[in-house]
Symmetry: C2
Subunit: 143 residues, 2 copies
């Protein structure tokens, strides 16, 4: 086995202790990464979009459904349930007829917007670079 390159070197990033990286010789399990389930939420197909919509204030089910083109009723329900379970949104049923259900971001949900928007800003800033990289890679792969 070839010697591992020295750890600290130009451009190395300081990782906070709580973001799991393997100590030498001990493989990391994915479950060790506590943020994995958070990242899964963030990364899934609709959650961020829903959270960003709710950041504008409470919305009812049908409003969200209409606002998000292409989402199925089933997926909207499932996503909202997941967000509710994680404590990100509250679900309020008005006992009217026809029924009306409002969804609203909790304090926790609102606090999530900060890092997510930071990521969005990063994406916005670097999207041209990423698209150039993709185009270059694809061109090289084709040729």
């Amino acid at each position: 086995m070839l010697p591992r390159p020295p750890r600290p070197q130009g451009g190395t990033i300081l990782i906070p202790d709580h973001i799991a990286v393997p100590v030498d010789g001990k493989p990391i399990q994915r479950e060790d990464c506590k943020i994995a389930s958070i990242l899964a939420r963030i990364g899934d197909k609709w959650s961020v979009l829903i959270v960003m919509l709710l950041a504008g204030g409470p919305r009812r089910f049908s409003e969200l459904k209409r606002s998000i083109d292409g989402i199925s009723q089933r997926m909207l329900t499932l996503n909202l349930r997941g967000l509710e379970r994680d404590g990100m949104v509250t679900r309020t049923v008005f006992p009217t007829n026809p029924p009306r259900v409002d969804y609203e971001l909790t304090a926790l949900g609102r606090s999530l917007c900060g890092p997510v928007i930071a990521l969005g800003n990063w994406a916005e800033e670097h999207l041209p670079e990423i698209e150039r990289a993709r185009a270059g890679f694809d061109a090289r792969a084709a040729g």
Copy 2:
């Protein structure tokens, strides 16, 4: 149709313009959300873990494989290809025998670590709250 609640209100978050939210009446398409493909990378099963490992310096394929418990060779390859395509990592082949391939974060990849670590910090800070919310929700669902 019931009147939409007023937009600016207590706890409303300011969303930057480039993070797409629907203007009144126009449903948003998921493709409008430019950060969607970024979020998909962030959210997929292994990418963040790989990026965090590479944040410690360049690593060779087999090193990464050993470091991440449970990842298949196939998935490691696919993830690294995806990251390479997006311009996040470079792939360097040493024409030795046996062959050796090093992966290293690009400047772009390193810059991504900032927002990701911010998200990790958020997750670390709020994980207890989330777990409490989940437990409460599950208990209510069961009872």
